[in-house]
C-alpha cells in the first residue's frame, strides 16, 4: 500500500514525522517528550503527573483560561498523559486548524507558566487520582502487578503516593520541567490531511531554536518474579499475571506477538475460549503484549466471582503453559487475519497513525512500512511461534490478586 510518510530531525535533536492521509479532513498530533514517570526522583514520585496538569495552566501570552479557550476554539480534542518513558501530548482536530494548534503547543512545551498558586489544586487532584484507584479494582490490580513485575523506576505508577505529592513544592515542579523538557529525543508526529513542506517549515520556526541536552541516562535493574495478594471485600477477585517476553526489534518480536494473539487475539483465541466460553468462569479475560526498549512482557488479566477465582486462575495459568505444547496452523491463520486487518484499518485513523509513527521512531529509529509489517505477519508459522515459545517459555510469573481471599499459587 502506498504511504506518504516523511521524517526530519532538526539540528537540536527534535524529530518531526508525518503521514499524509488525503481521504480525511482531520489531523492528529502527538508529542512524545522523554519525561515519563521513570524520571521522577524517588522522593518526588508523581511529579511528572503534577507537571502534566500544571503545564496547560497558562503558557506564552495566555493565562490558564485563555489557553483552554484558544485550544477549544480550534476544536481540538486533547489529552496530556504520563507514560513510563514519555509525557505524551495528543490532540486532534480539523486539519486546517493544525498550524494554529502547533503554535499553541510550542508555548505549552517551551513557555509554560507553571503558576505557583495553582499547585494546591493540582496536588488535590493528584491525590484524588490515587484515592480513586481504590474504587477501580481492575486498574488497581494491573498497577500493582506492574510495580511488582518491573524493578523501579520502570514499575513506577505515574500517580506517585499521597506523601510524595503532598511534599512537592512549586520549585520542584519547575526544576523537573527544566531538566526534562528539551528537544533532544522529543518526537512530534502528525497524521492527516497535511502538506509536508509547510509543516516542516512551521515546526522549524516554532521549535528550531529550542535548546537542551537530553534526558539523563536511566539505571534500571533486572526484573524478577514476585507475587502478592491485596485483601479487599469485593464481589469479584481480580487476577493479574505477567511474564517476560522479547522487546520490539528483537528477531523473535513477531513470533512473540503471534504467541500472545494465539492466547488472546480474538474471541476464538485460547483464553476466551477455555476460560469464558467453555467454562463460563468470567466475563473479562485477556493477555496483551507490552514492550520497552530493552525488555517486554505479556500481561494477563481475569476478573471473576470469588468462589470461582481459584479455578479461573488455574485454567488461565494452564493455558499460558500449554503454549509450549504446540500451535495449530488454523490458529496462526486467524492470528494473521486479525493482525492484517488491524494494520489496514489503522490507515483510517489519524490518531492511530500518529501514534504508530512516533512509537516506531522511538523504539526502532525508523518508521516501519506497511509492506514490511504485512510481510512479517505473512511469515508467521506454527513452527516459528512454537520455537519462540520454547526459547522464551511462559515462566517466572509475577502474580497479583485482589479480593477477599488469597489464591493458591504454584510453588
Amino acid at each position: 500500500m502506498a504511504q506518504d510518510v516523511y521524517h526530519h530531525t532538526y539540528a537540536n535533536g527534535l524529530t518531526l514525522l508525518a503521514e499524509r492521509m488525503e481521504h480525511v479532513r482531520s489531523a492528529a498530533l502527538n508529542f512524545l517528550v522523554p519525561a515519563g514517570c521513570v524520571y521522577d526522583p524517588p522522593k518526588q514520585l508523581g511529579v511528572a503527573s503534577v507537571l502534566s496538569d500544571m503545564i496547560t495552566r497558562g503558557a506564552g501570552e495566555r493565562d490558564s483560561r485563555e489557553l483552554s479557550l484558544a485550544l477549544d476554539s480550534l476544536g481540538l480534542d486533547r489529552d496530556e498523559t504520563v507514560g513510563s518513558m514519555h509525557m505524551r501530548f495528543w490532540g486532534a482536530t480539523l486539519s486546517r486548524n493544525l498550524p494554529a494548534a502547533l503554535e499553541i503547543y510550542a508555548d505549552i512545551l517551551r513557555k509554560p507558566h507553571l503558576p505557583e498558586d495553582e499547585l494546591p489544586a493540582v496536588k488535590a487532584l493528584s491525590i484524588q487520582d490515587i484515592l480513586g484507584l481504590e474504587d477501580e479494582p481492575r486498574q488497581k490490580v494491573l498497577i500493582e502487578l506492574r510495580k511488582l513485575h518491573y524493578p523501579p523506576p520502570l514499575g513506577n505508577d505515574r500517580r506517585g503516593t499521597p506523601e510524595t505529592i503532598e511534599a512537592l513544592h512549586g520549585k520542584d515542579v519547575r526544576a523537573h520541567y527544566k531538566k526534562l523538557f528539551q528537544p533532544k529525543d522529543t518526537i512530534l508526529s502528525v497524521a492527516g490531511n497535511v502538506e509536508w513542506a509547510p509543516l516542516k517549515d512551521l515546526v522549524g520556526q516554532l521549535f528550531g531554536d529550542w535548546q537542551g541536552s537530553g534526558a539523563p541516562p536511566l539505571d534500571i535493574g533486572k526484573s524478577k518474579p514476585q507475587t502478592a495478594h491485596m485483601e479487599k471485600e469485593t464481589t469479584q477477585t481480580q487476577i493479574g499475571i505477567a511474564y517476560p517476553s522479547v522487546p520490539i526489534g528483537h528477531a523473535d518480536y513477531y513470533s512473540a506477538l503471534g504467541a500472545v494473539n494465539v492466547l488472546s487475539g480474538g474471541m476464538s483465541a485460547r483464553l476466551f475460549t477455555e476460560v469464558r466460553e467453555k467454562r463460563g468462569l468470567c466475563y473479562a479475560v485477556w493477555a496483551s503484549y507490552q514492550t520497552f526498549k530493552d525488555r517486554a512482557s505479556v500481561i494477563c488479566y481475569a476478573g471473576t466471582t470469588n468462589e470461582r477465582a481459584q479455578e479461573t486462575f488455574d485454567v488461565t495459568l494452564g493455558e499460558l503453559k500449554r503454549l509450549q505444547e504446540g500451535i495449530e496452523q488454523e490458529e496462526v491463520e486467524r492470528v494473521q487475519a486479525g493482525l492484517k486487518s488491524s494494520l489496514i484499518m489503522q490507515e483510517e485513523s489519524t490518531s492511530a497513525r500518529a501514534g504508530s509513527l512516533a512509537s516506531d521512531w522511538y523504539y526502532l529509529g525508523r518508521v516501519r512500512t506497511f509492506d514490511e509489517i504485512q510481510s512479517a505477519i505473512n511469515g508467521l508459522t506454527p513452527r516459528g511461534i512454537a520455537d519462540h515459545v520454547r526459547r522464551v517459555p511462559p515462566r517466572d510469573f509475577s502474580i497479583v490478586t485482589l479480593g477477599p481471599k488469597a489464591l493458591q499459587l504454584p510453588v
Binding site: S73, L74, Q128, T305, S341, M345
Partner: protein
C-alpha cells in the same frame, strides 16, 4: 459519499453510505429492542439474548461463530442499551460476504439449553464486575431513581436473581416477538458495492419472519425528583449523579441540548470544569445529554473526596440554576460549536463510526443524516434555541443520587426549593 436505502418484502430495511476511499466496510444489524421493552419477570433478557446470539445456530457452534469471525479478521462485537441491540463488524472489503453470512446466521440463534445455562454464569460475572465499579453503580442507580415511573429505568443487565430465574423458553418467546424483520435495520458504511450488499442481505435475511413490534411508554418524564444517599462503607470516593429532563432523540431541540451539555459539562473548558475540576475540588465533573425515544435526560455527575461532596453539590446547584436563569453566552456557544464540528467530522472518518451514526439516525428518525446535515444542524443552534431547551426542560429540576461512604448528605438549598 452516496446514500442508499431499500426495504425487503418482509420489512427489513437496509441503508448504507459508500465511501470508496475507505479501507474497510462496517456493517451493523440494529434490532430495535432493549431493556425498556422487557416486563419485570424477564428483566435482563435483552442483554442475555445478545450474548446467546453468539452461541450458535443449526449451522454453527459457539466456537464456530468466534472462529468464523476471527478467520476474516473481523473487528466485531455487540451491545445492548435501553432500546437497541446492535451487532456489528468491520472487515476488509473482500470479506463482506462472510460477514453478512455470519451475522445474519447468528441472528437466528438456536438458544441451546446447555449454552443457555453456561452463559448465565458469564452474565452473572458481568453483573459482579459492574458491582465493583462505584462510578457505574452510581449511574445505574441514579437512572433507576430518576426513571422510577418509566421503562427507561429498567436495568439492562438485570440482577443475578432475575438471570438465574430466567427460562430458555421465555427468551425464545421474547426473541420470536422482537427479532422480526421489520424491527431490524441493516446499516453499512465504507468501501463496498451497494447492489452486492442488497443481494447478500436478501439471500440471508429475506426469509425472516414479519411481525408487528410495539413499544410502550414513550411519554416524557421529569423524573422522580428524589434525593437519595446510598451508603457503601467500602467505597473510597463519593460518586454523585444529578439527572434533569432533556429533549428526546426525536426532538428538533436535540442539537441544542447536546450543545448545552457541552457548554455546561464537557471535560475541558466547561462551566463544571472551571468550578470543580480546575480548583481541585472534584477529580471529575461532567454533564452529558442522553437521548432516548420519546424522552431524554441530562446526566450531571462528579466524584470527589467524601468530605468535599456537600460543598461540591452546592456548587453544581449554583451552576445549574445560574444556567437555568441566565442561559449561556455567545462566546460559550461559539466555543462549543468548534468542538462539536471537529468531533462530528472526526467521528465520521472511520466506517465504524459512520455506520453507527447512520444506523442510529435511521432507527430513531427514519431519516438519512449526512455528516453535512449534522454539521448544519449544530451550526444552526442559537442562544434562543438553548433558551427554549431550558424553558421546556428545566436543568435545575434534578433527581440526585450519591453513592459512597457518606451516611448523609444534605440536599443543597433545601429551604428554597418549591
Amino acid at each position: 459519499m452516496s446514500f442508499q436505502k431499500q426495504t425487503l418484502p418482509n420489512g427489513l430495511t437496509i441503508i448504507g453510505e459508500t465511501s470508496p476511499s475507505a479501507r474497510s466496510v462496517a456493517l451493523g444489524f440494529f434490532v430495535r429492542t432493549g431493556s425498556r421493552d422487557e416486563t419485570p419477570e424477564v428483566s435482563g433478557v435483552t442483554h442475555f439474548l445478545e450474548h446467546m446470539v453468539f452461541k450458535g445456530t443449526p449451522r454453527r457452534t459457539a466456537l464456530d461463530v468466534n472462529r468464523d469471525f476471527d478467520r476474516i479478521g473481523a473487528n466485531y462485537n455487540a451491545f445492548t442499551s435501553e432500546e437497541n441491540t446492535v451487532f456489528y463488524a468491520a472487515v476488509l472489503p473482500e470479506y463482506l460476504p462472510q460477514a453478512v453470512d455470519i451475522i445474519a446466521d447468528i441472528l437466528r440463534p438456536s438458544l441451546r439449553e446447555d449454552d443457555f445455562e453456561m452463559e448465565k454464569n458469564v452474565i452473572i460475572e458481568e453483573i459482579g464486575m459492574y458491582e465493583d465499579q462505584p462510578t457505574w453503580s452510581a449511574y445505574d442507580n441514579a437512572k433507576k431513581l430518576y426513571f422510577a415511573d418509566h421503562n427507561i429505568g429498567n436495568s439492562i443487565l438485570g440482577t443475578a436473581d432475575s438471570i438465574r430465574a430466567l427460562k430458555r423458553d421465555q427468551m425464545y418467546d421474547y426473541f420470536e416477538r422482537r427479532y422480526v424483520a421489520p424491527n431490524v435495520t441493516v446499516a453499512a458504511a465504507g468501501n463496498y458495492e451497494w447492489s452486492r450488499l442488497i443481494e447478500l442481505v436478501q439471500a440471508k435475511c429475506g426469509g425472516w419472519n414479519r411481525g408487528h413490534v410495539g413499544r410502550y411508554g414513550l411519554q416524557e418524564t421529569r423524573g422522580s425528583g428524589k434525593f437519595e444517599v446510598m451508603t457503601k462503607a467500602k467505597v473510597t470516593q463519593e460518586h454523585v449523579y444529578l439527572i434533569a429532563p432533556a429533549p428526546s432523540a426525536n426532538s428538533p431541540l436535540r442539537h441544542a441540548a447536546d450543545t448545552l451539555a457541552m457548554i455546561v459539562g464537557d471535560d475541558s473548558g466547561s462551566r463544571l470544569y472551571w468550578s470543580l475540576v480546575d480548583p481541585g475540588l472534584a477529580d471529575s465533573a461532567d454533564m452529558s445529554f442522553h437521548e432516548y425515544e420519546g424522552a431524554g435526560a441530562f446526566y450531571t455527575s462528579f466524584s470527589s473526596e467524601p468530605g468535599q461532596a456537600e460543598e461540591n453539590l452546592t456548587i453544581i446547584h449554583d451552576v445549574l440554576s445560574s444556567v437555568q436563569r441566565e442561559g449561556v453566552t455567545e462566546a460559550e456557544l461559539q466555543q462549543a460549536k468548534s468542538k462539536i464540528g471537529s468531533r462530528v467530522v472526526r467521528g465520521s472518518e472511520r466506517p465504524m463510526g459512520r455506520m453507527q451514526a447512520l444506523g442510529m439516525a435511521w432507527t430513531y428518525l427514519g431519516q438519512y443524516r449526512s455528516v453535512d446535515d449534522e454539521l448544519k444542524a449544530f451550526d444552526a443552534v442559537t442562544l434562543d434555541s438553548i433558551r427554549e431547551v431550558l424553558d421546556r426542560y428545566p436543568l435545575d429540576r434534578v433527581t440526585t443520587l450519591a453513592l459512597g461512604p457518606l451516611e448523609t448528605l444534605p440536599p443543597p438549598g433545601a429551604d428554597d426549593e418549591e
